[in-house]
């Protein structure tokens, strides 16, 4: 029990430590207003281009993509932030098992990611007439949770690479853009050149977006478990890869002395 | 001799909030009405513990902060109101490693600030070269500042502060974090600046530095002025010019109380969080003889006979000790 309580406290305190600089106003701006505007931007373009009143495919797609905020700029950037605050070296040096330090944070950011998606969907409800029935809510939540976890895995992988470089932000931004452009959020994957379609299938969120759109148009989640399972598998692979990279680079970073270069 | 800096009843308050959702406003008094004047060509020191108000005072005088009330005049002009007349004629260095563009070289940093200080381009190269030479950085001038040691960054900051040949230079803890050699080099530069007629106002924690550099010193604590005098004048606030510094475990309380009754002993002070006791006396040799006579030669081990210095004045005024 103590381990569990400690994990919760570690998660909450680290979250506060890195993001507590945000006042409530700032939090609303970054976590709510910014993402809502991004979603609205693409949804409005879609509405104009496809001349339709049913904007649900784009609302779903863009809402799902919002999980990148926490996947990348939460988990992924945590190493950058820690180095910036000067606390990265302390974290590496503490007796606590590093998995025990970072896992609670990953969990917190996964849940935060779910909230981001829900905020996006609510914006869709308020501004664009998106309607989710009660029956669809549970399957949606399941898919969103798996999607958030999956995006987190990519964030962890990229963030781990941050141990070696000074500028991991470029990678994080590119990954965010990849999610925006290659997961079918705004246009059908079939429009992509073949090789990019392959990339699309390996990215987090692609299957989740397809699945949510299917659920929305009346399909049963149990008939498409391959999509859900595929998404989970991607997330798991990325997370494990991320953690492996982290452990390796932790050692290499100590040798090269780049842990605290800023 | 005219005063180039006049501070009268200066008050500066900050508002800060506590709490996340329900915020309560709190007013912090950084300065509680201080007054002093600095003469032209002087090296004037501001001493005080952390949070005393030294940096706030400097920020008001360098036109970075407005006073909440009171007067702050530099070169005859109001620091808040006439700042445009003051800024070209002063400069400042805030201690620490900031205030430089790390990704630029020393030379590029100085070129940039030279432009901002409206130094004509035709004069810049010669000026920058001479300044870099003066602070001992001319052979590393093309290296990026991020690769510099602390001492080098500090010296570069001083070079930057001299670009516009200021009449008044403000230095906030200039030698903080420097090793003894680096600190000594910087102090030498400060003395050279003052020798050329520039007025220097500096803040510091280091008593020895203040004693070495300053013509006059003001001591501040909790936003109030507690002393203002020359170094010798401050030292004379301590009655006796010498003291015996004794390791605390050498004497029992009873022994100390007995020593205190001796006519040559002025007072006995235990420094807080320290292993020493200071026995202030004008006749240190008499006291020492008394100790040897009373307790034997072994008791003498580890005893130092010292001149009273600024640290004693500081501790006496600011606290950090208690009398036995």
């Amino acid at each position: 029990m103590d381990l569990f309580k400690r994990a919760i406290r570690k998660a909450v305190v680290s979250y506060k430590g890195l993001f507590g600089m945000y006042s409530l106003k700032a939090y609303i701006m970054v976590e709510i207003i910014g993402p809502v505007f991004q979603l609205s931007f693409f949804t409005l373009v879609a509405g104009y281009v496809y001349k339709t009143d049913d904007l649900s495919p784009w609302i779903i797609g863009n809402a799902m993509v919002l999980t990148y905020m926490n996947a990348f700029f939460g988990v992924g950037a945590q190493f950058v932030q820690e180095r910036f605050m000067g606390t990265l070296k302390l974290l590496i040096a503490v007796p606590s098992n590093s998995l025990g330090i970072f896992l609670p944070r990953v969990i917190v950011h996964t849940l935060d990611g779910v909230i981001s998606v829900l905020i996006g969907l609510m914006a869709g409800m308020i501004f664009f007439g998106f309607k989710l029935s009660i029956v669809q809510l549970i399957p949606f939540l399941i898919v969103i949770l798996v999607a958030s976890f999956s995006a987190m895995g990519l964030g962890l992988l990229i963030g781990s690479l941050g141990l070696l470089t000074r500028d991991v932000n470029m990678l994080l931004n590119l990954a965010s853009m990849a999610l925006l452009s290659l997961t079918g959020a705004n246009f059908e994957i079939e429009r992509l050149p073949i090789f990019l379609q392959g990339v699309s299938n390996l990215l987090p969120l692609t299957r989740s977006i397809t699945l949510c759109r299917l659920i929305y148009s009346g399909a049963n989640i149990t008939n498409h478990m391959d999509l859900l399972f595929g998404e989970f598998l991607i997330g798991l692979s990325l997370s494990l890869a991320g953690f492996a990279v982290f452990k390796t680079l932790e050692r290499v970073a100590r040798v090269k002395g780049t842990l605290d270069l800023y | 001799m005219e005063s180039v800096i006049i501070v009268k009843d200066l008050v500066r308050q900050y508002e800060t909030t506590e709490g996340i959702i329900k915020k309560t406003k709190k007013t912090v008094n950084a300065l509680n009405g201080i007054s002093f004047e600095v003469k032209k060509g002087e090296i004037f020191g501001l001493l005080g513990p952390n949070g005393a108000g030294k940096t706030t005072t400097i920020k008001v005088l360098t036109t970075l902060l407005s006073p909440s009330s009171g007067t702050a005049k530099v070169l005859g002009f109001d620091a808040f109101g006439d700042e445009k007349l003051i800024r070209p004629r002063i400069n400042f260095v805030f201690g620490g490693e900031r205030s430089l563009y790390w990704r630029l070289s020393a030379e590029d940093n100085l070129k940039y600030f030279a432009d901002l200080y409206l130094i004509p381009r035709s004069e810049q190269n010669a000026l920058i070269d001479s300044l870099l030479k003066r602070v001992g950085l001319d052979d590393v001038k093309l290296r990026k500042v991020e690769s510099y040691s602390k001492g080098m960054k500090q010296r570069l900051q001083v070079a930057r502060a001299l670009l516009n040949n200021p009449e008044v230079v403000f230095l906030d803890e200039p030698t903080i974090g420097l090793d003894p050699v680096g600190a000594r080099d910087l102090r030498k530069i400060i003395q050279e600046i003052a020798a050329l007629g520039t007025t220097v106002l500096l803040t510091t924690h280091y008593m020895q530095e203040a004693e070495e550099l300053c013509d006059r010193i003001a001591m501040i604590n909790e936003g109030k002025m507690i002393a203002l005098n020359t170094v010798d004048g401050l030292k004379s606030m301590i009655d006796q010019p010498t003291k015996l510094r004794v390791p605390s475990e050498r004497f029992t309380s009873a022994e100390l109380l007995k020593l205190k009754e001796h006519p040559s002993v002025d007072k006995i002070i235990q420094l807080d969080k320290s292993n020493f006791i200071d026995i202030h006396s004008g006749e240190a040799d008499t006291v020492l003889s008394k100790i040897v006579h009373e307790y034997g030669r072994d008791k003498m081990r580890g005893i130092q006979i010292l001149d009273v210095n600024l640290e004693d004045v500081y501790i006496e005024l600011v606290g950090g000790s208690h009398a036995i």
């Binding site: 945000y22 006042s23 106003k25 700032a26 701006m29 970054v30 910014g34 505007f37 991004q38 609205s40 931007f41 409005l44 373009v45 879609a46 509405g47 104009y48 281009v49 500028d167 991991v168 932000n169 470029m170 931004n173 590119l174 853009m177 925006l180 452009s181 705004n186 246009f187 429009r191 992509l192 | 900050y14 920020k59 360098t62 036109t63 970075l64 902060l65 407005s66 808040f80 700042e83 800024r87 070209p88 805030f94 490693e97 900031r98 205030s99 430089l100 563009y101 790390w102 990704r103 630029l104 070129k111 940039y112 600030f113 432009d115 901002l116 200080y117 409206l118 381009r121 930057r160 516009n164």
Partner: protein
Amino acid sequence: MQFKDILQVVLSSCKNQFYMSIGRATFQFCVLAQPIVYGFILGMMYLDQSNEAFTIYVLMGSGIVSFWSSICFSSASDINRERFYGTLENIFVAPGRFEWIILGKVIGNTIWGVISMMISACFVLIFFNKSIVVSNIGLLIIGLILMVVSFVAIAFMLAGLFTLSRSARVLMNCMEHPIYILCGVVFPVEILPGFIQPISYILSPTWAVKVLRLAVVGGPLNDVRYYLIGLVSVTVIYIVISALSFKLIDKRARVNATLGVY
């Protein structure tokens, strides 16, 4: 201050900013990668639309998006960065005057903005095999120049306003998409709800986009005149507000002590 002094300060600050900005990963992303990504996404969405729509909303639209994201993101966060470097106080009291230094910074970033606009345009032209339509080259060039000036005016104004506030960077996170939406950069302003449209017209880019639109599809001279006058008028108003802001900043920043603390 004499004109030559102002020029010296602005040019020096511009040069300093130009080199410092591109050294940062996030900025590299905004200038080099984001134009391509947004060009790609918008191009894919508008793939089946007319050549005129493609020219206006993809070629120019993504160019303007890239341009604004380069400078808006930087103007306020650059002030914050000066705070972090510890140099904000130094440039604040330099005789070169704070507002000219900031203008230099904005112009420095603007040059990168123009480069990013060109990158976007080149990408769209090469990747998508669509024909580009331009009726009036002269008007296009004038429109582009005025658009750049109008954006510089907003960025300058925002830089001033955000110098006072420590939450500058956070607010900046929400300045990208609202501008694209409200100014009709990638779809016509007319599809927005009626009550929002007046807001669009107090933003100078809206007028610039209208001028550019006319340069593509052609239109009556009166319309051209109307939009040009609107653009110039709004830009002048921004310049006036900027001048007043910076006068206010000098006092307020010192009363509120917002210069030094990061």
